[in-house]
Amino acid sequence: MEAVYAFCVGMLTTCGLFLVLRGRTFTVVMGLTLLSYAVNLFLFASGRLKLDGAAVLGQSTDYSDPLPQALVLTAIVIGFAMTAFVVILAMRSRADQGNDHVDGQIPTRPNSITASSKRNS
């Protein structure tokens, strides 16, 4: 179970980081969402993984650590609020700048630069 869990968290983080480093706001927002999922799963695992362990007293003989669950709950709420904000901001930025690039302008491609410089020379 641990290996699969760790693999999932690692995969989500990798994909999240890759998407965050892209140039368009949509992919960046997707990346941030994936990162926050990865973070939530990771926080959840920080109290050790356990099968059939209840987090509420009096529910079972075997208990799991309740604190990470409280932390995850807070982190999820904050994560949702932030995602909502960044989505609205991305839309506003699309409207203000006229494109959805995070820098506000779409960079010219390197090969188009060489083509024009060839023409000049």
Binding site: L32, L43, V86, L89, S93, D96
Partner: protein, 505 residues
């Protein structure tokens, strides 16, 4: 009086909520009057809190009666109450300035301002790193909205970068918290400081990774070298009162590094002692260098001031990296000075750009300012203070810091870097002053009236500098005590855990 430590958080929160409700939300004037009175009350409350924690020792506020290390606590010691008072003073100045017209750019300026103050105060007062995260998010989401307040292409662009960067930072923060909770088993700062010494060998590497991840996050908030690129653009794009308030934001990062890396991963942490220091030394010095380069390269006054903030971050980081009481004490003095004066400079830059018409605050020949003398005097005082010329507070702060290096091997690095960065800011700011005030062409510019509120706001923030020198004795005495309290684990750790147990009985 027992509830004093939570008031700096509750007061702005309730004020912010009340301002969204009908009797207050109807006109901007009611917002203004209410907001200014709440901020004045906040200054009084913070001053009282500072006095009581200074005289009666550290105050602990146990929320919901759950004792530490299990419950949430607020800790009001000398350092945190000092930062809270600093926030309230800066907030009052920025808010008075905003009341002169900058708050009309969009809806709900004052409630957002209150929520940001609440987040900053909470981050200073909390004794628990998960709550530090929560308050970081509170202050950040308010700052996102404040930054875009007024709208415009420039602000949107700066805000997209700022928000995305900080969201990634928040994710890293949570990863770090997860690692630290998984290895140390606690999130209360005092409790972690005790437990970190008892870690098993295979868990030390993980805890070290967690501690260093925290350094990355706080470095991002504080604008430490490789993570500082967001700062100049963001601060230059924000409206003046917001930029002035943001002067405290980098200090939240610095404060957190000071807390976490001197209390938890301090000298007593066994195998994990001082893990951040080898990283902090070069990064702090390079931050100073890049700040100096930035200051010299800035094409307008706002960018110059933003880069001066980076220089001050570098200076403070150098002081933290020294890890001694005298250096921390000097850093605290310098922190008060630099926060207030950079706030004042952001406000002044806005005042100047309004007076110069189309030229704004760019360093170009423009028409003469109508009210140049008054602004010029204020600018001169601020400039002298910020570059650290005698007799004002910047000089005292830097001298204290340079004295603290006595007998260290790193003295050969610290002195030249700090002094050269000071020289660079002197050159840049005198270039700024001469261009703005002395080089003009054509007849005088339009007679733009200056609201007296703006003058009062700038005067409040600038008055701190001579006051810091006049009352230098008691203030340095206080910062010495605060630094001693932070470095002394019997006071910053054991007393808190003990105190919690005593209350229980």
């Amino acid at each position: 009086m027992q509830h004093l430590p939570i008031l700096p958080i509750l007061l702005p929160m309730l004020a912010g909520v009340l301002m969204l409700l009908p009797p207050l939300t109807n006109t901007i004037n009611r917002h203004r009057v209410f907001a200014v009175s709440v901020m004045t009350a906040l200054v009084v409350v913070s001053a009282m809190l500072l006095l009581s924690s200074h005289q009666q020792g550290t105050q602990m506020y146990v929320l919901g009666g759950w004792q530490p290390p299990f419950g949430i606590v607020l800790v009001a010691d000398r350092l945190s109450t000092m930062m809270v008072l600093l926030t309230s003073l800066l907030g009052l100045g920025a808010q008075l300035y905003a009341c002169a017209g900058d708050d009309k750019g969009g809806m709900y300026f004052h409630p957002l301002f209150m929520f940001q103050i609440m987040g900053v105060n909470g981050a200073f007062l909390t004794g628990d790193i998960f709550n530090l995260f929560v308050f970081f998010e509170v202050l950040l989401i308010a700052s996102y909205a404040l930054l875009i307040h007024g709208g415009g292409k420039q602000k949107t662009k700066a805000n997209v970068h700022y928000v995305i960067l900080n969201l990634v930072g928040s994710s890293i923060f949570l990863f770090a918290l997860g690692i630290l909770y998984g290895t140390i088993g606690s999130l209360n700062i005092a409790d972690m400081a005790v437990k970190v010494r008892l870690l098993g060998e295979h868990e030390q590497a993980l805890a070290k990774a967690g501690g260093l991840l925290l350094l990355v996050v706080f470095g991002l908030k504080a604008a430490l070298l490789p993570l500082h690129f967001w700062l100049p653009k963001t601060y230059a794009a924000a409206s003046a009162p917001v930029a002035a308030l943001f002067a405290i934001m980098t200090k939240v990062g610095i404060y957190s590094i000071l807390r976490v890396h001197t209390v938890i991963f301090g000298e007593d942490a066994g195998a994990l002692a001082s893990i951040a220091i080898p990283w902090l030394w070069p990064l702090a010095l390079l931050t100073l260098v890049i700040g100096a380069v930035g200051v010299l390269a800035s094409p307008n006054l706002r960018l110059t001031v933003a880069n001066l903030v980076i220089i001050s971050v570098g200076t403070l980081m150098v002081a933290i990296a020294m890890q001694r009481e005298s250096a921390t004490s000097a850093a605290l003095y310098y922190m008060i000075h630099t926060t207030l004066v950079s706030g004042a400079l952001f406000l002044l830059a806005d005042l100047i750009s309004k007076q110069r018409g189309k030229a704004e605050d760019r360093y170009v020949v423009a028409r003469k300012m109508k009210r140049g003398t008054l602004i010029g005097i204020a600018f001169f005082i601020a400039a002298l203070t910020v570059v650290g010329m005698p007799p004002l507070s910047g000089f005292v702060g830097k001298t204290l810091l340079l004295q603290a290096t006595q007998g260290m091997a790193e003295i050969a690095w610290v002195w030249p870097t700090i002094l050269i960065a000071g020289l660079a800011s002197l050159i840049a700011i005198s270039r700024a002053g001469t261009t703005i005030f002395w080089r003009h062409a054509g007849e005088s510019a339009i007679d733009e009236p200056i609201s007296p509120l703006k003058i009062i706001a700038i005067a409040i923030l600038l008055a701190a500098s001579p006051l810091l020198v006049i009352f230098g004795g008691p203030i340095t005495e206080f910062t010495n005590l605060a630094a001693a309290q932070l470095h002394d684990t019997t006071q910053s750790v054991d007393a808190l855990l003990q105190g919690g147990m005593n209350n229980e009985n």
